[in-house]
């Protein structure tokens, strides 16, 4: 900023060009005046670059208009607050549509280029003035690009964090199906932290429900490596120490092959093909017999 001020006083002393105070409003007025043409040009460049393909042309038109207006407003006021808010909103809308970070950064940079070129055209006859216009324009434009990209990435990270949290909360319910019988359906990737949490929840559940049999269903676990397998073995052992037998169900063919190939010792684990079989075995262990009504009513 200080260099700009120096230049400013120099130019004012020369008395040739309008000073910086009115340079920016001039620039903003110019961009407002040619709003439609410049926006069209910008949309054309977006199309050419094959950006925002996930959105319809109406949506692109609507969003580009808002971005354009916000952009000019930031140039005018120098405050990125409103833009930041808008960018976060926009990100929230377009992230689920599969719009990537480079696309968002790409369109903002395109707008910067389109506007810079139009300024170039307007002031090309007066090179010193053009230089000063660009001096005023460029920092603001770069700041806008930074803000938009930052907001987009922030929003993206927020979504990821939120999803991680909900996965963590949702994924390990300990459910009681019958007196003394718990099931623990595991969905998703088991990492060290989750496995630890799961063991704790299960053991607390065993004590709270006075469970004697637990069925752990891992149909929803995509991949089991050595660490996870060892965690499962530990969970089974710890449950046994608390007096509950554990039945593992839903080992996929791939997981069975992996476990045998990496040589995890699963001899202490009871495994049964599917959840139904596991529940039937658990009921047998607990002495339940399940009969259908029609059969029970028969002779």
């Amino acid at each position: 900023m200080s260099t700009e001020d120096d230049q400013d006083t120099g130019e004012v002393a020369a008395g040739a060009a309008p000073d910086d105070e009115i340079l920016l409003p001039q620039l903003v007025a110019h961009l407002r005046e040619h709003r439609n043409r410049l926006r069209q040009e910008w949309v054309g460049r977006i199309d050419q670059a094959h950006l925002l393909q996930a959105m319809t042309s109406q949506e692109v038109a609507a969003e580009t208009t808002s971005v354009y207006d916000n952009y000019v407003e930031v140039l005018e006021t120098g405050s990125v607050g409103a833009l930041q808010h808008y960018a976060r909103d926009l990100s929230e809308r377009i992230i689920p549509r599969g719009v990537e970070t480079d696309e968002v950064v790409g369109i903002v940079l395109l707008l910067r280029d389109v506007l810079a070129r139009s300024l170039f055209e307007k002031y090309q006859r007066d090179l010193p003035l053009l230089n000063r216009v660009l001096d005023a324009y460029e920092p603001a434009a770069n700041r806008i690009a930074n803000t938009v990209a930052g907001s987009f990435v922030d929003e993206r990270e927020r979504v990821i964090r939120q999803q991680q949290d909900s996965i963590r909360e949702l994924s390990t319910p300990v459910l009681r199906v019958r007196e003394r019988l718990l099931i623990l359906p595991i969905i998703g990737v088991l990492d060290r932290e989750r496995a630890r949490q799961l063991t704790e929840q299960l053991l607390t559940g065993i004590r709270a429900h006075r469970a004697r049999v637990v069925v752990i269903d891992i149909t929803g676990v995509p991949d089991v490596d050595e660490a996870v397998a060892n965690h499962l073995v530990q969970t089974v052992d710890a449950s046994r120490l608390m007096g509950a037998s554990v039945i593992i169900t839903g080992l996929s063919p791939e997981i069975a092959q992996t476990l045998v190939m990496i040589g995890v010792d699963l001899s202490r684990m009871d495994t049964i093909g599917d959840l139904q079989g596991g529940l039937e075995e658990a009921e047998r262990l607990l002495g339940y017999t399940v009969t259908r009504d029609s059969e029970a009513a028969g002779p």
Binding site: L203, R207, R210, R212, D237, L241, M242, G243, S245
Partner: protein
């Protein structure tokens, strides 16, 4: 053998003994517990022993191996042993440390342990592993 207050109790309930450990025992007290319990099994002609460790918030390797020894000795003297009341935290710590209870049976609490011994002594086919 240390003398002093006994930090455990051994009670008789039918043909079973209920041995409760009241607080963390040091190694010599654990050995005293072992001797007293094995002696009582013979004197009372007990067929089953329930050892309640619910009051313990840690079971180290010496305690685990002592309990395992007690199980073996009790079996030689004709009694089945069940450990009851292992807390979740204790269970996690034990498997982390790789401590095994070997042939010892475990159950959730005293009631479950007595039921398990009842099954064992009745030779019931529905008895759990």
């Amino acid at each position: 053998m240390t003398v002093g207050p006994r930090l455990f109790s051994i009670l008789r309930q039918g043909t079973c003994l209920i041995a409760s450990i009241h607080t963390a025992l040091d190694d010599s007290q654990l050995l005293r517990f072992q001797e007293d319990l094995i002696a009582t099994i013979g004197r009372d002609r007990a067929r089953g022993v329930v050892i309640d460790v619910a009051a313990l918030d840690v079971l180290d390797s010496f305690a685990t191996s002592t309990l395992r020894d007690i199980g073996e000795m009790a079996r030689l003297r004709g009694a089945a042993t069940v450990i009851v009341g292992i807390q979740p935290d204790v269970a996690i710590a034990m498997v982390r440390l790789g401590l095994r209870t070997g042939v010892l049976e475990t159950a959730l609490d005293l009631e479950e342990g007595l039921a398990l011994l009842g099954d064992r002594m009745a030779g019931s086919p529905a008895a759990r592993r």
